[in-house]
Symmetry: D2
Subunit: 131 residues, 4 copies
């Protein structure tokens, strides 16, 4: 299954008084990971939304192994877990600039027709890029 990496630098406001990245601020990092995964296979998530497909998250799981600090350069590795159906499942790993594993993440998103607000199957134009 296709894997993409993207990097980002930790912002000051993403840390908390413990001096490390706040646990909730990894969710945007995972979002950036899957956005770049999609872009890498030739799609923009923005384009999908503009064309009537929403992808809300229905399940998020993060295991925190080591903290990220301000100004760290993180690498988000995003892996598709299996061929999407009504759902699309990603696995993630985030490492810091020293190669240390910081978190392991999993998300499940569902395809929703934004006009009818109903679940829909993964669009063919996406499946054709993957398989």
């Amino acid at each position: 299954m296709k894997t993409t990496t993207t990097t980002l630098r930790v912002r000051y406001g993403e840390t908390d008084k413990m001096g490390i990245v706040y646990y909730g601020n990894y969710a945007p990092y995972l979002e950036q990971g899957r956005t770049e995964w999609l872009r890498d296979i030739g799609f923009s998530y923005k384009w999908m939304e503009d064309n009537g497909i929403h992808l809300p998250v229905v399940d998020l799981h993060i295991k925190y192994k080591a903290p990220a600090h301000y100004d760290d350069v993180l690498t988000v590795t995003t892996m598709l877990r299996k061929i999407p159906t009504y759902r699309i499942e990603f696995d993630y790993k985030i490492h810091n600039q020293h190669g240390q594993l910081l978190i392991i993440g999993e998300t499940v998103l569902v395809f929703v027709n934004s006009e009818t607000n109903k679940l829909m199957k993964a669009p063919d134009f996406l499946l054709n890029k993957i398989v």
Copy 2:
């Protein structure tokens, strides 16, 4: 001019590694202040949006006098500056539980018709409540 106060408790994730509330996190506090100001005169901002009026911020100014800390209980005082026209201007003060002044803020928002995306005058149903 009408003044409203509302309170909130600082969340952990709103602090940064300096151990104080991150400077950008006061913007949601001001937003909560003006939302409650509107509710206090009999409106919900949500209702206005549902009825075709958007209120984007066009100017934000904050002077930081003293830091807020985790778990502090803050009081946001929101004052209308003058009768709204195409713009609505608020002044804010935020104090902590010891009565210490933390920030002074000012925002200017404009009334926008969300269908045409054009500027509009403050709606009469709002003006009638104020004057």
Copy 3:
């Protein structure tokens, strides 16, 4: 096991362009839940930190059942799962003002001595309050 509820109102900035609360913004809601759970048994998390105990999150799991919207009043129900050891585990449910279940959450936090940065057992002053 002890259960606490706390309420909060969704802020504008917590929504995203889908018009619903961004999936990452539930993490602060859960944090508020467990903070109030602690306060309810007679502790402040702030006090614990000031006395050398940190509680970093090592595991977060959220199942999203229905979306929250701007200005919704959410009730966070926080339940201790079992007697803490080196870890403290909470289960959460968040409902909206109509009683609709929005998310189910789980977190695992560990007790860390903030001077030595080593894992430690749950302090007696906490255990004495629970059992």
Copy 4:
């Protein structure tokens, strides 16, 4: 005076239900701008903090000219306004990928000795790089 530019891509969670970047989320963009300005003259803000100098923001002013949207690539231009004394003042402009001006920003930060918590003059090692 020295000017630096840095780019960033708007994240989904940085938008709000109006479909545009939430007004408070420009504060981290400005922070990224001045961090890269410092790095550009040979400093890391992280290094300064590690060496006992804090730089809290005491004044923030943003004029919003046009909205940023999800997935936009923004360019933050950061300009030092004058030689720092106890304060360091930056002017900012943010443009989108079409060259459109989105916001004009200004911040004032002060140098603080993080041990004594007292104001201090801009350190020589910084001034030497600027003048």
